[in-house]
Symmetry: C2
Subunit: 234 residues, 2 copies
DNA sequence: CCAAAAGTGTTACACGTACACCCATGA
DNA sequence: TCATGGGTGTACGTGTAACACTTTTGG
């Protein structure tokens, strides 16, 4: 096949819109939450929707997700993991459009409140999600499953917490992810066995009179654990 | 935003070619293998390549993968699992083109020999792979990692074997996937504990004088195990 | 009778899991 | 002083991993 023929053949093939959608997980008030936005485009303008965008000609899919996440939340270097490609022929009533979904883990407490207000966005607890446009509800369910599965392979829980956190906070995060309560003694034992926590001398009195010690985590050791594929079952 | 504006906006967005590629795993002669094809298109015509195709307007991504797999190998209802979306801007020197890769598990012994000959294809042992076009080598490496990870979650090993197989065959398959040797007593104990094997009275004398009993697996029990998310660590 | 692969049990150790009480503090 | 959440140790059972010998049969 000549180069010209090849170019013609490429042209014959149907092109498609390629979008990205992002399931944004956060953790606040002891609950696992999802950040969803009021859609600004027809069709279904005004309905709740995941964060999304079309992929530009000069960026790859993950960059596109990172870009739109940055544009709307100001967060950079967010934990982003590819979930799945959604490609049903009629998933978008506008035009043929496939979407590659990623999920993101961010610290919801932090600066997000203003951002949320400024973009018609809202944090919903995962089991109180409103109806979402298109196949976004499916994406959210799939992402939750993936998060559960991933939580036992990697210590991703930390991505959802602020820099300093208490053990009870960490435990309640894992309880929220797994949807069941854990024994605090066994939890501490396990977490300590990984040697990824650095105890500070500071106590957090936010949720008890006695106060709980704040920890930060040991990045080096943490990355080492992730790289070695350690199993993080809690 | 009006419907017209929305349509215009959709149109402004760059469309892309959307392709699928398929990493086809097989198991024969005690080795884990990959089926690769001589590329028939410029650029890089004649080089080794994974099985691929463009996605048509009337099919989703997984269907497209299934279709091209069927067209070239005649296999239907193959185990297919989405791997990852490859979307580097310059991954295809022809045009901007993203590709969603799946991996497939098929019984390599079976009917594939004629097919292979008829399509300029070849089974390569995974650690003797030739150079592949574009980012296909990366896809193959990623697929192997994913297969290893998946093998401990689901009893996918069976997909790669003929209907009847011996325990030593099954063991050597897992040894090939994990890249290490396993203790035969522990292996049998573990496999038996799943109750997915049905012993036949037939022996296979292909690899020993004594002969090894052939087993088939219990579909019902197998599907039940997969559904319950049982951990299949060997 | 020998080589080559199939098949079979037991033991030690690690890890997961269940479980109850004291501590520190603010109200 | 009491209510609330933080923090600690032990005992038991399950599952994993290490280990060697007998059986069958074709050449």
């Amino acid at each position: 096949m000549s180069l010209k023929q090849q170019q013609e053949w490429y042209e014959q093939q149907q092109k498609m819109h390629v979008a990205v959608d992002c399931i944004i997980f956060g953790f606040s008030e002891g609950k696992l939450k999802l950040l969803v936005f009021k859609r600004k485009l027809e069709p279904l303008s005004g309905k709740w929707s995941l964060l999304g965008s079309f992929v530009r000609g000069d960026e790859d899919v993950k960059s596109a997700t990172g870009r739109v996440l940055y544009e709307l939340t100001g967060f950079k270097d967010v934990f982003l993991k590819e979930l799945k490609c959604y490609s049903n022929v009629d998933r978008d009533p506008g035009q043929r459009c496939i979407s590659i979904a990623h999920y993101a883990l961010i610290d919801a407490e932090d600066r997000t409140k203003q951002i949320v207000a400024g973009h018609d966005a809202h944090w919903f607890t995962i089991n109180e999600l409103p109806e979402l446009v298109f196949d976004h509800t499916m994406m959210a369910m799939d992402a939750l499953e993936a998060l559960k599965a991933e939580a036992r392979r990697q210590p991703i829980g930390f991505e959802l917490l602020p820099e300093c956190f208490t053990i009870p906070q960490l435990q309640s995060l894992y309880e929220a992810i797994y949807g069941k309560s854990l024994d605090s003694r066994n939890f501490r034992k396990k977490v300590n066995s990984f040697n990824v926590l650095l105890k500070t001398n500071v106590k957090d009195y936010g949720s008890s009179k006695k106060g709980a010690y704040l920890y930060r985590f040991d990045e080096a050791r943490y990355n080492q654990l992730v790289a070695s594929g350690y199993d993080f079952v809690l």
